[in-house]
């Protein structure tokens, strides 16, 4: 039935009809007629191709989420999702906080994602940084972030940064 309908009626018309039926007959049975976006059209972690192919992508960006564990790796490493793993919600919120703190403190300097690795009682934060400020300032920021984050997270925090001279160095391709 729905297949026949879909053949003759355009998507927008179907959606309109769906809404109308919902409004007139709340809870009406419409099984088989679903108008939500289909799964493989998900947009998270995907980038739109530009007309002149000028959008720079890092390796991380160039690989879609389903390629995690095949061609790229996770951005957060922890054991919360394993059997009997603990503190899952706390860890997620802390990771969001760490990412915001890092990108804000290292303003316009991070060229990669902020990778957060948790081992035992320790948090290790890795990433690629642009050599826009001198090494001394980088060391200052490193010490500052390690100390301040450890005061909040109540555990030792270590930064493991790599630097590149040019922003272009991390560009994998243009789309």
């Amino acid at each position: 039935m729905s297949a026949i309908l879909q053949r003759f009626i355009s998507r927008s018309q179907l959606s309109l009809w769906h809404n109308t039926v919902q409004w007139m007959l709340p809870g009406a049975e419409l099984r088989g007629l679903h108008t939500t976006a289909i799964a493989n059209k998900a947009q998270a972690g995907r980038y739109r191709v530009t007309r002149d192919r000028s959008r720079p992508l890092t390796y991380e960006m160039a690989n879609q989420p389903f390629k995690i564990a095949h061609r790229k790796s996770w951005n957060s490493w922890n054991t919360t999702s394993l059997l009997e793993g603990m503190r899952e919600p706390e860890t997620v919120v802390e990771d969001i906080f760490i990412r915001r703190f890092m990108t804000g403190t290292w303003h316009n300097l991070f060229l990669s994602e902020v990778i957060i690795k948790r081992q035992h009682n320790m948090v290790r934060i890795a990433g690629i940084v642009h050599q826009k400020i001198n090494a001394q300032k980088m060391y200052f920021l490193t010490g500052y972030c390690e100390e301040l984050l450890s005061y909040w997270l109540k555990c030792p925090v270590k930064l493991e940064l790599q630097t590149v001279t040019d922003k272009q160095d991390v560009i994998y391709k243009y789309i």
């Binding site: 490193t142 100390e147 005061y151 493991e160």
Partner: protein, 655 residues
């Protein structure tokens, strides 16, 4: 096949033997009398496993220290960057600490259970805050000196009665630190890079809180006297410490070993002549014996320290050995500090040569140590200095070094200053005693991550390379000099150029020639491109430019030589002195060879300006080998005038 088969590995053989034995015993049970002894449980501390793991990792000489980020951009090479990077990182940590102390409410989030004190903001005490005895107990127990002072005053103002035991603890805290807040244990780098203060003047605060607390004690226990005397002696308020000591003697108050040790240590401030000082030390030791106060390692070290302060005294050496012997009979084992004082007493700069270090090493070899005395950290640096300056023996130095790298002994290196002095001595001794190839192995091992040579040491290395003619090490040394910021030091650049002039190009070594001439050109461009506002700049001297010319001409980089000459001619004020005649001659012959008349004439003119005696000869050479244009002739004639006689039989210039 089975007859040929043998278990390939020993453990397989053991298993095979075990199987056969098990099959013999099967059905018989355990033979009687074969009891299983379960070993007793060994108590381990929480960090024992970590320490065991750390014990398996040696020192990595191939990369920077682990406190630095492992990235080429962030790796320090020169002493300056090592220091500034480490301190910058700590400065960032201090900024974070400041934020935490300033805005403690931002850190009220508490995911830790149980509470971890050290992540919490430190409690600050203000005027008018309600405090009790417990507050003071807490701050004294944590050793927070400044807080203790504030809380004590608050308690006084609020009329809180303080028990004598607490006051005693407070007194001990104040006397030990002289009422000054210490650098936090967490600021590792600051403590590492801080210059250890070696003040020999009074720093004790007179009429301070410590004395007030002492006066406010209702019953003065001997411990209170001990604390005050120790504090005064440590911060060199020696006269009053001595007064108190006399008071105690009169009143018959027993003093403990540590107090006697503190007094022995400052004996040299109480008397002038060497023998009188020693007499005082003896008196104190005898008093200890009379009163049955047991001496300890501190007494031994204090006695030797007192002797080290009069090490110029003739009897000091004999006495030190006697003291050591006597304490040995008492069953007191010496620590590294003991040996440090022995070295100070026996190995003096102008004293006779003493082999005591060899004896000490015979005793210590193969041992690892625990820290027992603050001066324990001075042993290794002093031992290395003795090995270099007193014994001048690389063998001894290597023994000291292997002792340092045994187990955890490297922790006794002290601070950054001591470490750099230690390696400076070791490095300089290796440089002067080893053949150059073996020395360069030491160089590759230590430089740049363990030790960055100071300019003076670099100079010795360059001289050694030059003397031994191992010029193929120069490119490596030059690139190191550039990374260590030595490329703007006149003396080192001059030495490098002088070493380069020792190279004689031959068809066997075209690659070496190319690399060496690259250095010369690099020096030339580097110095030319210096920032004129820079403070430490290389100033060209005539000699240095002469070396540049000589090297580049000899190695076939004629173009650079002409640039140098042009520079020397156009801006003579930027060059100290003049290019020496041999360099000019070398350049002239190259110019003649290439029939480069302009340069040849310029050389002659420069030589005339410089006032070299060879100018006439040069002019004749130019004149006879090259056809000169009118202009050139006119230039030569006007510059040389009548000083130089040009032969008449040269063809007259066409007019």
């Amino acid at each position: 096949m089975s007859a040929l088969w043998r278990p390939p590995l020993p453990f397989l053989r053991l298993i095979a033997a075990g199987i056969s034995r098990a099959s013999q015993h099967r059905g018989l049970g355990t033979p009687a009398g074969d009891t299983i002894v379960i070993p007793k449980r060994i108590q381990r501390s929480p960090t024992d496993i970590l320490q065991a793991l750390a014990g398996t990792v040696g020192q990595d000489t191939t990369g920077p220290h682990y406190k630095y980020s492992d990235d080429p951009f962030l790796s320090p090479y020169s002493n300056l960057t090592k220091r500034s990077y480490a301190l910058s990182k700590e400065s960032g940590r201090k900024a974070a600490r400041w934020i935490r102390e300033k805005y403690p409410r931002l850190f009220s989030h508490r995911p830790d259970d149980p509470l971890i004190e050290s992540f919490q903001p430190k409690q600050q005490y203000q005027e008018g805050e309600q405090v009790g005895v417990d507050t003071l107990v807490g701050v004294v127990a944590r050793g927070e000196v400044a807080n203790a002072v504030t809380v004590y005053h608050l308690c006084k103002n609020q009329g809180v009665a303080l028990p004598d035991e607490l006051l005693q603890d407070l007194l001990e805290l104040l006397c030990f630190y002289n009422e000054e807040e210490q650098v936090d244990v967490e600021w590792v780098e600051e403590r590492w890079y801080r210059q250890a203060s070696t003040t020999t003047r009074k720093t004790w605060k007179d009429n301070s809180l410590a004395e007030e607390v002492f006066a406010s004690l209702t019953t003065r226990e001997p411990a209170a006297y001990c604390a005050l005397i120790r504090g005064m002696a440590q911060y060199l308020q020696v006269d009053r410490a001595w007064q108190l000591y006399q008071e105690c003697r009169e009143k018959g108050i027993p003093l403990d070993t540590g107090t006697h040790n503190a007094l022995i240590r400052v004996a040299s401030f109480l008397r002038d002549a060497s023998d009188l000082r020693w007499q005082l030390v003896q008196e104190l030791l005898c008093t200890m014996a009379e009163r049955d106060v047991q001496p300890d390692l501190g007494t031994l070290n204090a006695t030797l320290e007192a002797l080290a302060q009069v090490s110029g005294w003739r009897q000091a050496r004999d006495l030190s050995l006697k003291v050591l012997m006597e304490f040995h009979q008492l069953g007191i084992k010496p620590s590294l500090a003991t040996y440090y004082y022995l070295l100070l007493i026996h190995c003096r700069d102008r004293g006779p040569r003493s082999d005591i270090l060899v004896g000490i090493l015979d005793q210590l070899e193969g041992q690892s140590f625990t820290l027992q005395d603050p001066k324990d950290t001075s042993f290794f640096v002093t031992a290395m200095e003795v090995a270099r300056n007193h014994l001048k023996s690389l063998k001894v130095a290597e023994r000291v070094d292997s002792l340092l790298h045994l187990g955890d002994n490297h922790l006794f290196i002290g601070d950054s200053y001591k470490e750099s002095v230690y390696y400076r001595h070791y490095f300089a001794l290796s440089c002067s005693s080893l053949p150059i190839d073996e020395f360069m192995q030491v160089y590759d091992k230590l430089v740049p991550h363990i030790y960055t040579p100071e300019p003076g040491i670099m100079q010795e290395v360059l001289e050694a390379v030059q003397t031994s003619g191992a010029l193929h090490y120069l490119p490596q040394l030059w690139s190191d000099m550039v990374t260590f910021d030595h490329s703007s030091r006149d003396k080192l650049v001059g030495l490098m150029l002088a070493a380069l002039t020792h190279h004689h190009p031959s068809p066997d070594n075209p690659q070496l020639t190319e690399r060496l001439v690259t250095i010369a050109k690099d020096i030339w461009t580097r110095v030319q491109e210096q920032d004129p506002n820079r403070r430490n700049r290389v100033t060209w001297t005539g000699q240095m430019l002469g070396w540049v010319v000589e090297v580049v001409v000899r190695c076939g980089e004629y173009q650079t030589a002409t640039e140098v000459l042009q520079e020397a001619t156009t801006t003579p004020q930027a060059v100290l002195g003049v290019l020496p005649a041999p360099s000019l001659t070398a350049l002239l012959s190259a110019a003649l060879h290439r029939k480069d008349t302009d340069t040849a004439v310029a050389v002659v003119l420069y030589a005339q300006d410089a006032g070299h005696q060879e100018t006439g000869q040069m002019a004749q050479q130019v004149h006879s080998s090259l056809p000169l244009s009118n202009q050139h002739l006119a230039k030569l004639a006007s510059a040389l005038g009548r000083d130089v006689y040009l032969p008449h039989d040269t063809p007259a210039p066409a007019t």
